[in-house]
């Protein structure tokens, strides 16, 4: 296998991992494990959440440097699991360049869960967490509907590549507007539990966990980046929810 073929494989695997939401230390570890098992003498990998830089040297002074910018990041833990698996397998088995590329393409082609199931899951998460925070069944059903609504809204806005902060603020505004209006119309007597249940699908759970794991691994730069992302999203949720509530609070003088 030539050095540039190894570089290609390493880059493809790294890109898939990073754009599916893996921790940066995992990306670095996997790439260097793959390169070393494919016969590279020296592998220097540098990964931050938006960029991968690799330097590979085989024998003598034959060396390459590759870099790639990651623009799009989503959460897809099946891909992380499968690529992680493949990188371990490469240490045990001998596969040719074309075989490995084919494996990577198969992993890339694994379908996500069907769209209706994903939309339903957002609603179901809101429903369950409303119940979790002591809501009545009726309030939880409102949370379910709001959950489905914000899922559709975020999907629609994501099509136009809106940034995540703005999408979350709008989602928060939708949540609290609907919850407060439903309460004002007299369908329920309290909107607190509806709102708490509905914001759970927006909570940046992955960002919090990954940033911590990056910090533990000594990757402070990546940890700070992800941690900042988590704080920003939490702030976006609070801001989005606060706007309609303070509006109703001051304009209509509703006691909340």
């Amino acid at each position: 296998m030539t050095l540039s073929e190894i570089g290609h494989i390493a880059m493809e695997m790294g890109t898939l991992l990073l754009s599916s939401g893996a921790e940066t230390y995992r990306v670095e570890e996997s790439i260097s494990r793959v390169c070393l098992s494919l016969g590279v003498k020296e592998a220097e990998i540098f990964v931050i959440p938006s960029t991968i830089i690799i330097y590979l040297r085989k024998s003598g002074d034959e060396a390459i440097t590759r870099t790639r910018r990651i623009h799009h990041r989503a959460i897809d833990l099946t891909t992380v699991d499968q690529i992680n698996d493949l990188s371990r397998r490469l240490g045990r088995e001998k596969l040719s360049y074309l075989e490995i590329i084919k494996e990577i393409e198969t992993i890339r082609a694994i379908p996500e869960y069907p769209l209706f199931l994903q939309i339903f899951s957002t609603g179901f998460a809101a429903f369950m967490f409303a119940l979790f925070f002591n809501a009545t069944i009726k309030n939880s059903l409102f949370a379910f509907m709001i959950g489905i609504m914000i899922d559709l809204q975020i999907r629609y806005m994501a099509k136009f590549e809106t940034n995540r902060f703005f999408m979350t603020v709008i989602a928060g505004m939708l949540i609290s507007t609907v919850a407060v209006v439903v309460t004002l119309l007299g369908f329920t007597d309290s909107f607190n539990t509806i709102i708490i249940g509905s914001i759970m699908p927006l909570v940046p759970g992955l960002a919090i966990t990954q940033s911590l794991r990056d910090v533990i691994a000594g990757d402070y730069l990546a940890g700070i980046t992800k941690g900042l992302e988590a704080c920003l999203i939490a702030a976006a949720i609070a801001i989005g929810i606060a706007i309609p509530i303070s509006f109703f609070h001051s304009i209509l003088g509703v006691i909340i």
Binding site: I75, F129, L131, G205, L206, I241
Partner: protein, 150 residues
């Protein structure tokens, strides 16, 4: 505290597992971590009068569960960790912090905000302790195995 919330935590975690696209055969295993987290949280609350300590204990147990399952199924611990942590995330305290500030009750708002930070800190400490320990044990075992081969 009601034990039925454990089932709600399981259901909510299952929904999150689908949203994060976790492999089909690991969906239920991952969601069960959420059940364990809430169960430990309630048990902790019976003995300690502090939500922060209960959260810390719950994180310890779910992180331990995640590490064990990761070894059993040969997949990254993150898959289990991310999903089972969700029921402990202080979503309601974030909301009440915001609500107090909007209502002009800054004093209570700051208090609730600090409480939220304390819970977040407890979650981080739990994860850090368990993953560092498991990494250490893994390294020690690795070293022992290689020295035996030599």
């Amino acid at each position: 505290m009601n034990f039925i919330t454990c089932l709600y935590a399981f259901g909510g975690s299952l929904a999150f597992a689908i949203l994060m696209n976790i492999p089909k055969n690991k969906l239920v295993l991952a969601a069960f971590g959420g059940f364990i987290a809430q169960f430990t949280f309630i048990l902790g609350h019976l003995y300690f009068d502090s939500t922060v300590i209960s959260c810390f204990l719950a994180t310890l147990s779910l992180a331990f569960y995640s590490e064990v399952m990761a070894r059993q199924t040969a997949s990254p611990a993150t898959i289990y960790l991310v999903v089972s942590l969700i029921p402990l995330v202080p979503g309601s305290s974030i909301y009440y912090t915001m609500l107090y500030f909007v209502q002009g009750d800054t004093q209570t708002g700051i208090e609730t905000g600090l409480y939220t930070l304390a819970i977040a800190g407890a979650l981080s400490m739990g994860i850090i302790i368990v993953s560092s320990t498991s990494k250490l044990i893994h390294r020690i075992n690795q070293k022992r195995n290689t020295s035996q081969v030599k």
